[in-house]
């Protein structure tokens, strides 16, 4: 590593200042949200559509915002060390911080449309982050899959939002919170419910959309720690929580969320067992957590919401720490396979301590925050509206499996003796293990002072969902009650599962092999279906023959033109042959000769030049009839076109008659050309017959000099009166140029036989 490179790496740590600063800003407002205040900030954006740039900070936004910024700061530092002097480290940090800001905007948006914009921004930035190692086809594939699945869900969600806006008459979340009854009673409720759920379920990887999350593990590990444990996948959870006061209540909400959540939780917990890649194990356990969160949001009692929001915090702390630990192992040993390394605790004490703190919290041992989370979960499960007994059973089973998985993750790589021949490993850099250590340590701290968390973080968030309830009794020891009993059962059965893990794994593998249909397969099938259905019309319409393209364009134009003219009903008025001056007749004659030359010639150069003559003649006509600006532009465009076309075509052989097709084809082409010319002529006649409305012209004539200080009205219109149009046009020019450039270069790659991937 050269000195300048390592200096550059140090700069990358500075990126952490952004999330850290935002975290401090949020923390300062903590007393306000804890006192149930709602801080708002708003400016108009598109007032005509009711879309404002409105931000809102209440207890729920605060809880999510703190997690996002804290994790963002830790991950920024970690990433600096993880990537080192990577070629694209700068790009990575920009993407990471953009994602963080989008995510923060999402949880603070007070307008549904604004929320959607931030939602899509997180989709977009996460697409780029998952596909960060874009030279691997696997990474590209997973990035595309995540984009398709969450993007499609996001669009459905937008439709749901528009319906909400139509029914409730507002996009403002603050106003919506008081209009829940309108939404719950509208006959459109099922449509709204399904569309919004599509967004939340795809983003939070709920069954049956769960398959994209494990595949997204091709992302760099710090990205997975940030996106796939603490933030982005929680966006769906946030949405469900945010709309909970507005949409919850009807049986559809309760039953759907409870059952799909349970299904996702069990699927995730079971599938976590069959994996050998530690990162995939974590991905599946994240599915379990997301399922549990969805399940609890299906409840309507305070206890269920408390469970959801507490577990959100618990999970964010231990899961991102574990992801970061796996990243360290990968970084230091070069493998993420569970059975590849053993006994690393002695060589890597810092990393091992972080892993232990996080895994113990995950398993739910007393004194760790996970223990409190589990107690509160069981409390919530027992209070569910829909089948509380089964929900409790699901919660206990899933947590049991989690305990076992935590054991596998901690014991296998870290404990025991390193086997003979294992390559010696060194402790990672402090910047790497400090983050997970901090997260794990916070897990212990919160486990010891849960009442503080309840008072400042969870309680205000629950209040934001419209539930006051009695103050939470979040203490280490609740007394001998049902949740404690269930916790003891969970821990002991979890240890048993850990001991008998090989049996469970073997059973699972057999069961999975028998499973006929997976979400991944359905996705692949749908993708192939789209490609297949696209190939058919493409083959018909875009066969690569310019002749056919031109024919289709011209035929469509003639058809539509005739249809419009026939519908207009008015026959064109033919004023007889106009009396023209001799120089005008000369021009007409010149044009006719040039056109004839284009049609007849076999030489490309003659054809191009003749076309140039036609264009120049047109410019002359503009000049004669008092439009010097148009004439100038026409002449210049014509000149440049001839040059460009000449550069290309001069390299090609002469036009052969067979290239222009057989005689019948040529006759049809000729007729089409005549028809196109006639349609244009008739349209021109129709357009020029009625007297021109000069209102607009008069306006420009009056104000061009006074308001815009220009005598050339054409230019004043272009750069001042209608400058927005011009801005759009030059953007199109620039993009068209870039697209053409890419096409030209692609041709070169193909010729050179080099690899080209679109």
């Amino acid at each position: 590593m050269s000195a300048s490179r390592s200096a550059k790496v140090r700069w990358h740590y500075l990126a952490a200042l952004l999330p850290a600063g935002l975290f401090a800003l949020l923390a300062v407002s903590l007393p306000a949200t804890a006192a149930h205040q709602v801080l708002r900030w708003e400016i108009d954006w598109v007032p005509a559509l009711g879309v404002d740039l409105a931000l809102r900070l209440d207890g729920l936004s605060m809880l999510f915002g703190l997690v996002i910024t804290a994790a963002g700061a830790i991950i920024s530092v970690y990433s600096g060390a993880y990537l080192g002097p990577h070629r694209y480290a700068g790009r990575y940090q920009v993407l990471l911080q953009s994602f963080m800001l989008a995510m923060l905007g999402l949880v603070m948006a007070d307008n549904l449309i604004l929320l959607f914009v931030f939602w899509e921004l997180t989709t977009f930035t996460s697409f780029l982050l998952i596909g960060f190692t874009h030279d691997q086809s696997e990474a590209r594939e997973s990035a595309r899959q995540a984009l398709f699945v969450t993007g499609a869900g996001g669009l459905a969600m937008l439709a749901g939002f528009v319906l909400i806006g139509r029914v409730a008459g507002t996009y403002s979340l603050t106003e919506l919170l008081s209009r829940g009854d309108i939404l719950r009673q509208t006959p459109l409720y099922p449509a709204i419910f399904i569309l919004v759920l599509a967004g939340a379920f795809t983003k939070s990887a709920q069954f049956p959309f769960h398959f994209w999350l494990p595949n997204a593990m091709t992302a760099p590990t710090p990205i997975s720690a940030f996106l796939h444990s603490a933030t982005m996948v929680k966006a769906g959870i946030y949405l469900l929580a945010r709309l909970h006061p507005v949409l919850s209540g009807p049986p559809a909400w309760t039953i759907t969320l409870t059952s799909f959540g349970a299904l996702t939780a069990l699927t995730g917990a079971l599938l976590a067992f069959g994996q050998t890649d530690m990162k995939r194990i974590l991905a599946y356990t994240t599915l379990m957590a997301l399922g549990m969160l969805t399940l609890f949001l299906g409840g309507t009692h305070t206890a269920a919401l408390v469970a959801a929001l507490t577990f959100f915090l618990v999970h964010a702390l231990y899961k991102s720490a574990l992801f970061l630990v796996v990243g360290i192992l990968d970084h230091e040993t070069g493998t993420r396979r569970l059975d590849a390394v053993r006994g690393l605790a002695r060589a890597m004490p810092g990393t091992a301590a972080a892993a232990a703190a996080a895994a113990m919290s995950m398993a739910g041992f007393p004194l760790f925050f996970g223990f409190i989370g589990k107690e509160i979960m069981y409390d919530g499960a027992l209070s569910m509206d829909f089948m509380p007994g089964s929900v409790t059973l699901v919660a206990v089973s899933a947590n049991t499996l989690m305990t076992a998985v935590a054991g596998i993750l901690l014991v296998r790589p870290f404990l025991g003796k390193p086997p003979q021949g294992q390559v010696p490993v060194h402790e990672a850099a402090a910047a790497l293990f400090a983050g997970p250590l901090l997260l794990g340590g916070t897990g212990i701290l919160f486990g010891i002072i849960p009442w503080w968390v309840a008072r400042w973080l969870v309680q205000p968030a629950v209040h934001a969902l419209g539930h006051d309830g009695p103050p939470l009794a979040a203490h280490l020891f609740h007394g001998w009650n049902m949740p404690l009993l269930l916790s003891i059962v969970t821990l002991s059965v979890g240890v048993l599962c850990y001991v008998g893990r090989s049996v469970i794994t073997r059973f699972l593998r057999r069961w999975l092999a028998a499973c006929p249909l997976t979400g991944d397969a359905v996705y692949q099938g749908a993708l192939q279906g789209v490609q297949w259905s696209g190939r058919l019309p493409t083959g018909l319409l875009q066969n690569g023959s310019l002749h056919r393209y031109l024919f289709i364009v011209m035929a469509t134009f003639v058809g539509l033109g005739i249809w419009r003219l026939a519908a207009g009903g008015q026959p064109p008025i033919w004023g007889g042959i106009p009396s023209l001056a001799y120089r005008e007749w000369l021009l007409v004659g010149l044009e006719a000769v040039a056109v004839a030359a284009v049609v007849v010639t076999q030489k490309r150069l003659v054809a191009i030049s003749s076309l140039g003559v036609v264009g120049a003649g047109l410019a002359l006509i503009f000049l004669m009839f008092g439009a010097p600006d148009v004439a100038l532009t026409q002449l210049l465009v014509e000149t440049l076109t001839v040059i460009i076309v000449a550069v290309v075509l001069l390299r090609l052989p002469d036009l052969q008659s067979r290239e222009c097709g057989d005689r019948p084809v040529r006759i049809v082409d000729g007729l089409l050309a005549l028809a196109a010319g006639t349609v244009v002529a008739v349209m021109l006649l129709n357009a020029t017959t009625p007297p021109l409305d000069r209102d607009v012209t008069a306006y420009y004539e009056q104000y061009s000099l006074l308001a815009a200080h220009g005598r050339n009205i054409v230019n004043v219109i272009l750069v001042d009166f209608r400058a927005l149009d011009t801005l759009g046009e030059i953007t199109v020019v620039a993009l068209a140029g870039l697209a053409a450039f890419a096409l030209i270069r692609r041709e070169r790659h193909r010729k050179g036989g080099q690899k080209w991937e679109p």
Binding site: D629, L640, I644, L724, A734, A740
Partner: protein
């Protein structure tokens, strides 16, 4: 294509054409011309140079990648528009600096001129991107 006549003529013409293109750009607000027309003229000059001396020489003479020119043009036009926002007026409102009002105004410079320069750069950049790519391809 590098015949002696073309080369000699190009040497003389390119500079003149470029001066003319800038002239067209700045007179546009009062007389026929403007950013688009000026850029087309400048594009012709560079195309002529590329045909007679080769695309590589043209790139050297240009010094920067034409795609950067396009981007700079778009940004310039955007900056001209945003200036109005900074002055608390709607996006792309023309701002003028000078003295006097109405027909008596003596204007020195305004954001529409800057906007036109943006148009000029964008169009020129796009033309050169294409011409040079095609010239190198052939």
């Amino acid at each position: 294509m590098g015949t002696l006549i073309l080369k000699a003529a190009t040497r003389l013409l390119v500079g003149l054409i470029l001066v003319f293109s800038v002239y067209l750009l700045f007179r546009g607000h009062q007389s026929p011309g403007g950013g688009f027309a000026g850029a087309l003229v400048a594009g012709t000059a560079f195309a002529l140079f590329a045909i007679s001396e080769g695309a590589a020489a043209c790139r050297r003479a240009l010094r920067i990648d034409p795609r950067l020119l396009t981007a700079a043009g778009l940004l310039t036009a955007l900056a001209a528009g945003i200036t109005a926002v900074v002055a608390n007026k709607p996006f792309l409102t023309g701002l003028w600096w000078g003295w006097g009002h109405g027909a008596e105004a003596h204007v020195i410079i305004g954001t529409p001129v800057i906007f036109d320069i943006g148009v000029y750069l964008t169009v020129l950049g796009t033309i050169l991107t294409l011409v040079l790519a095609l010239e190198e391809e052939a």
